[in-house]
């Protein structure tokens, strides 16, 4: 159906050899199903991006509107419940999968030379995922979200020396309110995606460059 269109583009850009080089990559014999956790984590991230971008069309990050806009999205907008729950369950699954992925790398000893840098990037990605989960949890702005974030910020406040600064930074002031919601939202939809996508580029290109580690 699109044969002529693809030929038209191919004639001008010549992308087929590039695609072949990227996709037709030999996979070593010792790869097992356990090696899928990384890719599955990325898969959940893609679902989170799609559903998250859609919800950004309907969500209002202010204390007087956040809860109402979420309720309205779920009850009135078609497929609202499905989309929000896809986001929620993908988020839970992503956290679980990213830990399983780390466990696999640990057990296989795949973090050893020459892959130490990729391990470090992986840890950054893991922490970013956890901050994603923490910031996203506040956004529905219900009792559970409010008090869970309260506890989370109190945990940050117990850090030696820097504690009160960290808590004030996370809250955006002395009270958990409008600025807290807004900065969690900004982190969740603007800052963290940039960090995560940047880290993923490093992570994936290093895997490609170094290949998959041999089993022990």
């Amino acid at each position: 159906m699109f044969a002529r269109s693809t030929e038209w583009i191919e004639e001008r850009l010549g992308l087929r050899p590039v695609a072949a080089r990227v996709l037709d990559h030999p996979v070593p014999k010792y790869v097992t199903w356990l090696h899928c956790f990384g890719g599955l984590t990325f898969f959940t991230f893609l679902i989170l991006v799609v559903t998250g971008v859609l919800m950004a069309f309907f969500y209002v990050p202010t204390p007087d509107h956040a809860h109402d806009s979420v309720q309205w999205f779920q009850q009135t907008v078609p497929f609202g419940t499905i989309i929000r729950n896809l986001h929620r369950w993908s988020a839970y699954t992503m956290v679980v999968l990213v830990f399983l992925h780390m466990l696999r790398v640990l057990v296989h000893g795949a973090y050893r030379k020459p892959r130490e840098m990729n391990w470090v990037v992986g840890v950054v990605l893991l922490l970013t995922t956890l901050v994603f989960a923490f910031t996203g949890y506040l956004l529905p702005w219900d009792q559970k979200a409010y008090w869970a974030t309260n506890v989370g910020i109190n945990i940050a406040a117990s850090t030696p020396i820097l504690g009160s600064f960290l808590a004030g930074f996370l809250r955006g002031g002395p009270t958990l309110g409008a600025l807290t919601l807004l900065r969690f939202y900004a982190l969740h939809v603007f800052a963290l995606p940039l960090v995560l996508v940047g880290g993923l580029l490093f992570h994936f290109s290093m895997v490609r460059k170094q290949g998959i580690a041999r089993p022990l």
């Binding site: 999205f73 078609p78 497929f79 609202g80 499905i82």
Partner: protein, 223 residues
Amino acid sequence: MRFLGKLLRRGAYQPTLPGLQVPRRAHRAAGDKGDGARGGRPGLRLVTESISRRTFLSGTLAWITAAIVSAVGAPVATALIWPAFQKSKGDWSPVARLDNPGPNQADLSAVDKPILTHFTALVQDAYLEAAPQNMPVFVVNHGKGQFTIFDVRCTHLGCPVNWDQKTKKFYSPCHDGVFDSEGRVLAGPPPRPLDRYEFKVEKGVLYAGKLFKVDDSLRRVTS
């Protein structure tokens, strides 16, 4: 798969399109002592085109990917375009008390003279059940309880029109649109007469209802 294909197929290898190839039945050529002799209906034999493991897997992968994309994409696309199909419900909003106007209400006693005023409509704005919205209008009292409530927005691009009492015309400040006292287009680019609101008078209070469009002979064209 390849073994089966080679076993059943006759003829030279032909490269196939990526995707799943369904085995198909073909008539046996005359005098062919092919596999049809082994069973099944006489005169027919199973012919398959061999596909490589790679082709099979990439085809399967493409179909699974398409299924996942549509499973996630269909709800997302539906939710995204759904607001475009929502219509405003429209309810009656008080404009002014006629005999004894309130402090912020216009005096509408002058007959056949458009008075610029506004009313507050409580509209459903997504999750806000009753969001107050200010609606500027020209109200014309025709006497005997008859009113016309004009939307102030020019039907060209929505600039608020002005009433000129001397020439008895509405003028749009943007592109020289001119309307007569009944809202008909006299000059300029506006495509139709000024839009109007439904009106009703109840217990001495003028109410504005739904906004509607009229054609050149001032007949209502939208419900």
